[in-house]
């Protein structure tokens, strides 16, 4: 299996959003919200962009404090934590136009989103971009914080992958084997259109094709074989999850 970053519809929409964000009207409205189910490729997509622009990426966690956030930001920017380090952070971000990414930003909403407010203060002054990655369930809590919500210029929702995404992933990632349409459809269905599981399914199908010397693999070759292990789907089947 080839190791490539597949440009899915979600990734394209994310890039589109960034292009619009860069050309925003109000300089201080530089916030972007990325939300969606786990396993849709949010983090990989954001990292793909972040590596390109050299962003400072922070990951929020429960009980995240402003001081910890600032120390982590200093580490990401290679700024030693000493007297006046916060001012140096602000200078560096403004000088090099470094975007800030807050992964798992839902955890940063505690205590009136003090951490996000501190970061927002930095991006306001430097007119830089801040991308917040969070799960959908936190959107309501975020909308209650007016200072942040009003600055969100663009929202990208990572939707379940479409059939074309799965087909593109199969075509781009599989080595020496073509995937028949019926198998692509089955992968799309059984993985619940979750990119993380699609990758597993492609690797399994490819292994079967290689073992049997197939150049094209279809659903009939994978009959009776599981394509991936979807823990949530199993629980739903058993009635544990609604």
């Amino acid at each position: 299996m080839k190791q490539l970053f597949v440009k899915t519809e979600n990734a394209k929409r994310f890039r589109s959003g960034l292009a619009m964000l860069e050309s925003r009207g109000a300089a201080e409205s530089g916030l972007m919200l990325v939300s969606g189910r786990p396993g849709e490729g949010k983090t990989t997509t954001v990292m793909n962009w972040a590596a390109e622009v050299g962003a400072a990426r922070l990951t929020a966690y429960p009980k995240w404090t402003v001081e910890r956030a600032m120390r982590e930001l200093a580490a990401a920017l290679s700024i030693p934590v000493e007297r006046g380090y916060e001012a140096r952070i602000e200078e560096t971000i403004a000088e090099h136009e470094i975007p800030i990414i807050v992964d798992e930003a839902g955890y940063a909403l505690e205590k009136n989103a003090a951490c996000l407010e501190r970061l927002r203060h930095i991006t306001d002054k430097s007119s830089t971009v801040m991308v917040m990655v969070m799960m959908e369930k936190h959107n309501a809590a975020l909308s209650r914080i007016d200072q942040l919500a009003s600055r969100i210029s663009w929202t990208v929702e990572f939707k379940p992958s479409v059939l074309a995404d799965v087909a593109a992933a199969c075509a781009q990632l599989a080595e020496g084997v073509a995937f028949a349409d019926d198998l692509v459809e089955r992968i799309h269905r059984e993985t619940n259109a979750r990119m993380r599981l699609v990758m597993t399914a492609i690797a399994r199908c490819e292994a079967v094709a290689r073992r049997n010397g197939l150049t094209t693999i279809g659903a009939e070759h994978m009959k009776g074989m599981p394509l991936c292990e979807d823990f949530s789907a199993k629980l739903m089947k058993r009635g544990v999850l609604a």
Partner: protein, 201 residues
């Protein structure tokens, strides 16, 4: 005073949007716009930097969804560089360095999965050579653990560990001298005295 030329990026984007599948070759676009092909390349680069067009093949340009959204929004591209535009690091090694700093432990496969989009020439070999050069000067180190690979006969992927985080800017390999330049400190890192076996995945 700087001589200002008529910008053609915006007309080029508009032209691409009208073409079938939003795709056009360099020569075709040059003929349609009555401009030299090198000007088309320059304008296309400006558009590509903003992700408004993409290059599916050499000399071929295609408008992206972002490009169409741009046109639909009625925004105009100006000839000057806007203040708010984020500087982009385009080199694979620079991008890989960013991921290495983030992850601390990584495999070449993980780097490729995050960064490579298939347009790079020998991305795999490029990163391996880079890692080996960094390992020689003690910036990264291969761990004893290997992650199983999917290819038949694969010995697995080496798990690398970032030993020394040099800073935001990616270290540069100086192949001729066998050294690594650290742009963060301005130091040149020489190979470690203890011989290190180059590890291959």
């Amino acid at each position: 005073m700087r001589n200002r030329k008529t910008p053609i990026a915006q007309p080029l984007l508009a032209l691409l949007a009208t073409l079938p599948e939003g795709t056009g070759t360099r020569t075709d676009l040059a003929a349609r716009m009555a401009r030299a092909p090198n000007l088309i390349t320059t304008a296309a680069l400006i558009l590509r930097r903003r992700h408004l067009v993409e290059t599916p093949a050499r000399g071929l340009y295609r408008i992206t969804d972002a490009g169409r959204a741009w046109l639909a929004s009625g925004q105009q591209l100006t000839g000057r560089t806007e203040r708010r535009r984020i500087t982009r690091t385009t080199g694979l090694r620079e991008r890989a360095w960013w991921v290495m700093r983030e992850m601390k432990k990584f495999t070449v496969a993980v780097l490729l999965h995050t960064l490579a989009d298939g347009t790079e020439r020998d991305a795999d070999g490029n990163l391996r050579r880079y890692l080996c050069a960094l390992a020689k000067v003690g910036v990264v180190k291969p761990t004893a653990r290997r992650v199983p690979g999917v290819s038949p006969g694969s010995r697995g992927h080496v798990v690398w560990h970032l030993k020394r985080d040099l800073g935001r800017q990616a270290p540069v390999c100086r192949q001729r001298h066998g050294t690594v330049f650290d742009p963060n400190s301005g130091d040149t890192l020489a190979p470690l005295t203890t011989d290190m076996e180059a590890t291959h995945d």
